[in-house]
């Protein structure tokens, strides 16, 4: 009925520790880069093989060589037309996206906030989201005439519903225990959104913004066919002209440009969400051994 109390050796002094140095930036960058290079390598390789195989004539399917030299020409062209097209389109895209961001977020918050609003127009948001951008052209022209605003209008109508839906679903998935904790802390009304709902919904919101950006950008390229502002060149109309004149190499070159922009946008948004997620311990599949 008595215990053997086994005494163990006791370390004499508490040990001291040094913080480990974080992993080198170079190694990190390389780990993120080589798979991309490999992917590009494979894609270009396959393309080259298909092109060389003579499956289709090269005016229909130009090879990488021809396309890249066309892209290079356009890039180094002294009148810088590609760059100014790109500049115009990016500026419009960003501007439209930010307006859509604003309106979409407000709309999403409002709809998630008021049950009646959700019942009334919740579904309309998806309805609007499925409307092809060309359907808005007549209205855009009526409201804004031939101005950049007409393009912005088309972008906003294309992207805001997606952003609204993103924030609504983010808010719907906020864990109830956090909402309840916030409520008990006295976060009501605007404070509830500011301090609880929006921060909690942030990761899904930000990853939803990628969808919003995609909608903006696609609406924009469609919208640029609608209005060309005099003296201003833009990617959307360049693309349509290249298509109309059957210049397959230029079409592909412009597609590459669009892809690259999309990828840059992805890197920005993804690193943002990753940072947000990691800070709150949402390490996804990294939390388990694979």
């Amino acid at each position: 009925m008595s215990a053997d109390v086994l005494e163990r050796a006791e370390p004499s002094t508490p040990p001291t520790f040094e913080a480990p140095r974080p992993r080198g930036l170079g190694a990190k960058t390389w780990a993120a880069t080589w798979p991309k290079l490999l992917a590009v390598g494979i894609a270009v390789g396959v393309w080259q093989v298909v092109a060389l195989s003579g499956w289709k004539p090269d005016y229909l399917l130009p090879g990488p060589g021809q396309t890249f030299s066309r892209l290079w020409e356009a890039a180094v062209d002294p009148d810088g037309r590609l760059w100014s097209s790109l500049g115009t389109t990016l500026r419009r895209g960003l501007f439209g996206f930010f307006i859509a961001l604003l309106l979409g977020s407000l709309l999403g918050i409002a709809v998630s906030r008021w049950r009646v609003l959700r019942a009334g127009i919740g579904s309309l948001i998806t309805g609007l989201q499925t409307m092809p951008s060309v359907a808005w052209f007549p209205l855009a022209l009526l409201l804004f005439g031939l101005t950049e605003n007409a393009i912005t209008f088309v972008i906003v109508l294309g992207a805001a519903p997606s952003i609204a839906n993103g924030i609504i679903s983010g808010i719907d998935e906020v864990p109830p225990n956090l909402l309840r904790a916030g409520h008990m802390l006295g976060a009501r009304g605007v404070d509830r959104y500011r301090y609880v709902v929006l921060p909690a919904a942030l990761p899904s919101y930000v990853s939803g913004l990628k969808q919003g950006w995609a909608f903006s950008w696609r609406s924009l390229l469609a919208g640029e066919l609608l209005v060309s502002v005099p003296g201003v060149v833009a990617l959307g109309s360049d693309m349509s002209n290249a298509r109309n004149l059957g210049q397959a190499d230029l079409v592909i070159a412009l597609m590459i440009v669009i892809l690259l922009i999309g990828m840059v946008v992805d890197v920005v948004f993804s690193s943002l969400t990753n940072r947000i997620r990691r800070r709150r311990g949402l390490t996804g599949l990294d939390s388990v051994p694979s």
Partner: protein
């Protein structure tokens, strides 16, 4: 329609005149006129400035014009008729012709006769477009049945010209009834002209592009309209007097606007099939509209197409210049 918004009616003193056109060979007149500064110069005499606006689709252009976002534009006959009919004969007026000719039925090399097209696909730029109507009317006359859904003896598909070019190159379609420069592009791609639309018209002339204005603009700003017409006539003369230089200018303008360059031979061949004229060839438009009704692409037009034309200002200018006057339908 009433547009009381001053900022968009564009003709205050020192105001703007907004002129639309397409970056397209059949719009050689505005391309040359803009490049040479004819429009700016003419408008400057009345203290107005020019805002030139390039478009990709007749539909957008018409929506812009009727909505008050545009004062005048170069455009093809079928959108003109659409706008006129849609607005109950109110919205637009033709004030001059620009281009004639330059449309053809191009087919794959193995097609020899119209009969060979039976059961095949022929593409047009879009349902109800000028070439589409010409195609339907022609095939109907030749005894082929067609419908707007692409059914019938010959499938007429209204589809984007870019799709047509590729589909033709791939052999997915047997032919296409298209305007320049697509006639030239398709011929380059191994096609041949089975029928030049010019053959269907008296004297081989039919309207391809014309200058139209908002009716309101015509009524409120006769001086500015006269300025536009002056520049237009000057540009037409320039092209006809210096065809080689004009062709070069047009080529440069197209490259500037579209970043895509037509091969020189294609440009030349297309350019040569066009006639640049101030005559709107009104009777050909009226006939085309009648064809559109008869092939049931559009509903019967209630307004009188004679009201579409207001050629007096043009004729005044032509008279002054000692040129032959033009007539309405």
């Amino acid at each position: 329609g009433g547009d009381s918004d001053a900022s968009s009616s564009g003709s205050e003193d020192g105001g703007e005149v907004r002129l639309g056109y397409f970056p397209n060979l059949t719009h050689g007149t505005p391309l040359v006129g803009l490049s040479e500064g004819f429009y700016e110069d003419a408008l400057a005499e009345d203290g107005a400035t020019l805002v030139a606006q390039d478009f990709n689709s007749g539909t957008d252009t018409i929506e812009a014009l009727l909505g008050g976002g545009l004062d005048a534009t170069y455009i093809g006959p079928s959108p003109t008729v659409t706008a006129f009919a849609q607005s109950g004969g109110e919205g637009v007026r033709v004030i001059a012709g620009a281009t004639s000719g330059g449309a053809a039925l191009v087919v794959q090399s193995e097609i020899e006769t119209i009969e060979d097209l039976r059961g095949e696909i022929v593409a047009t730029p879009s349902v109800g477009n000028t070439q589409d109507i010409a195609a339907r009317a022609y095939f109907q006359e030749e005894g082929f049945e067609t419908d707007t859904d692409g059914g019938g003896d010959i499938s007429i598909l209204g589809q984007d010209n870019s799709v047509t070019v590729q589909a033709f190159q791939q052999g997915d379609i047997a032919g296409a009834w298209v305007p320049e420069p697509y006639v030239a592009i398709l011929t380059d791609a191994g096609g041949k002209v089975l029928l030049d639309e010019a053959e269907l018209w008296p004297e081989g002339q039919f309207v391809t592009t014309q200058l139209i204005v908002r009716t309101e603009f015509l009524e409120e700003e006769p001086d500015l309209v006269a300025d536009l017409l002056n520049a237009h006539v000057e540009s037409t003369s320039f092209i006809n007097d210096n065809p080689d230089e004009a062709k070069t200018i047009i080529g440069e303008q197209l490259l500037e606007l579209t970043q895509s360059e037509l091969p020189a031979e294609t440009l030349t061949s297309a350019f040569d099939s066009l006639t640049f004229t101030n005559d709107p060839l009104a009777s050909t438009l009226v006939e085309s509209a009648a064809d559109a009704e008869s092939v049931e692409v559009i509903e019967p037009i209630e307004a009188d197409l004679a009201d579409l034309y207001d050629l007096d200002p043009l004729n005044e200018i032509l008279a002054e210049a000692g040129e032959e006057e033009v007539t309405g339908p």
